[in-house]
Symmetry: C2
Subunit: 322 residues, 2 copies
């Protein structure tokens, strides 16, 4: 934090947002914590933030564990900084240690940007946020958007359900693969063809890299397309040596232009807002149902369910009419 | 299917359930398909089924890819068959090919039980069921319970969010590890200590197996416990050679007794029904919100959201009061 900043009044939500918008790091961290903790006054805060959002580009980066996503994200961030852009990185790992995903590089990574006010890095954990991780991630991105970051890089490990939900908030999704990720059939099976906007075959010095690039290119070529179809470019990258990253950036830029020109940006925004409203109502529903079961009639209903005197569909009707 | 069975009247839900309860395989398959497809008449069907449920034991089997879960499940099924129990296996893989999870063994596995009316095997896929996989799985288990299977084995790959949701429906969770799964710290980080009722260190002929057993045993020993606490047994198994499976079975049996004696079975049932009611209402909410956005006022609301004239919290209020 720079020396000139006055300590913001962190109790007053309005002042907190103002301080964050003025670039105060403490205010930003506080707001993000509020999102993570699902604070009671969150709805009001987020509602107020929306007016300041919609300016940032959101890029999603996904791929199997060990593909070198973190290094690539770091390289992309460095290039964006060179171009004078303010960059935020959100690393999400909803999966277990067993799937190999781990945002271990975080502390190390952060060091390379130490003292750079134009970079903000935040990891989002997984435990204790059952079902709510994708929603919390979306709202963290929202806060960063309102905090005037130009590009927000959202990195997720793997492509499970939570990850797919999270990637929906990105306008451009970069799928990072390595030759060992398996063949293109697996890419199709994993549903990556549907979510990818740009492919990066990383660690491209390894054998089989060219084969993977060829296979992916062939698959992209087989897509039934017209003039409004985006055909995903396939890039070879070697993030550790900063090879191919500029070309990747160029493709991302082109994809962002494509979204604007074709009107797909608005389509994406519509989908995003639909999901956002649904998420808000789902969270509220969950609270309502839990409270209903705390009451004595709720407890009685549970007993009837266990004794099979009623069924959950009937119980759902009763609960929702209370 | 045995020759004596008459073709059931599959159009009439009541008859369909009757046929399934009488052991008709075609009726069973049809009912499960209805659950997978979220059929319109599902609520009525499921509601009617509940009266016939609550008899089956549900065992969850989870662990990292490559731990040999499928083989172990197969061995457990074989032992249960020897004891005269009817067994259903539900294999769920919500993760991508990249995490290594794959229910590829299914076809092969099924062959070893060909012609055995006492075994039913079903895989549940992942695509096209965003967010609904755990709910669908629960209802499939319900159908199998009503179909009078004594034990239902639910196998999931990995321990992501969807898997954890699915495991909640099991009374006994067996966590299968292999020496290479990593150390016990990872087991703790993955939240496996919270969900495991029995540990199986599989492929126990490998080096490091004893070390893993020791570590797990130490960790279990560190649990703060009283007479009502279940301390998870740690077993060495070699599923391919059928080694240690009887001992594992014995621990599962003891755990089932423990649930009854301590009243934890009822606690689990209460939690299950709470979640079930919430799932039903969440699914309904999702349909309501989607329909609301299809109307002209819904479309107008979306435009206002995109133009930041309103925010999703405000929109959620409007939608829920329509």
């Amino acid at each position: 934090m720079s020396q000139e900043q006055n300590p913001p009044n962190l109790k007053d939500p309005k002042k907190l947002v103002e301080a964050m918008r003025a670039g105060n790091r403490m205010a930003l961290a506080r707001l993000i914590s509020k999102v993570e903790n699902r604070d009671a006054d969150l709805a009001k805060l987020i509602a107020d933030l929306y007016a300041h959002t919609g300016q940032a580009q959101v890029w999603g980066i996904t791929g199997p564990p060990g593909a070198g996503k973190s290094t690539l994200v770091d390289r992309l961030a460095a290039q964006l900084r060179k171009a004078g852009k303010r960059v935020a990185i959100v690393a999400v790992d909803p999966s277990s240690p067993f799937t190999g995903g781990a945002i271990l590089g975080d502390r190390i990574r952060m060091q390379s940007h130490t003292g750079d006010e134009g970079v903000y890095i935040r990891s989002l954990g997984t435990r204790g946020k059952h079902g709510g991780l994708s929603h919390a991630t979306k709202e963290v991105v929202l806060v960063l958007d309102a905090a005037k970051f130009d590009v927000i890089l959202v990195e997720t490990a793997g492509v499970g359900q939570t990850e797919l939900d999270i990637l929906k908030l990105a306008q451009t999704v970069i799928v990072v693969l390595v030759p060992e990720s398996g063949d293109s059939i697996q890419v199709m099976k994993a549903g990556l063809m549907e979510i990818a906007d740009v492919f990066a075959v990383n660690k491209s010095d390894r054998p089989e890299a060219d084969k993977m690039v060829r296979e992916l290119t062939t698959m992209v070529g087989m897509i039934d397309h017209d003039e409004k179809t985006w055909l995903m470019p396939v890039h070879k990258t070697e993030a550790v040596r900063d090879v191919g990253v500029s070309e990747l950036m160029e493709s991302i830029r082109k994809h962002q232009d494509h979204l604007t020109v074709t009107g797909k940006r608005t389509e994406k925004a519509r989908r995003f807002f639909k999901n956002e409203v649904l998420d808000i109502l789902t969270e509220k529903l969950s609270q309502t149902v839990n409270s209903a079961f705390e009451t004595s009639s709720g407890q009685e209903l549970l007993s009837q369910l266990i004794e099979r005197k009623t069924d959950p569909y009937e119980a759902a009707k009763i609960i929702s009419h209370q």
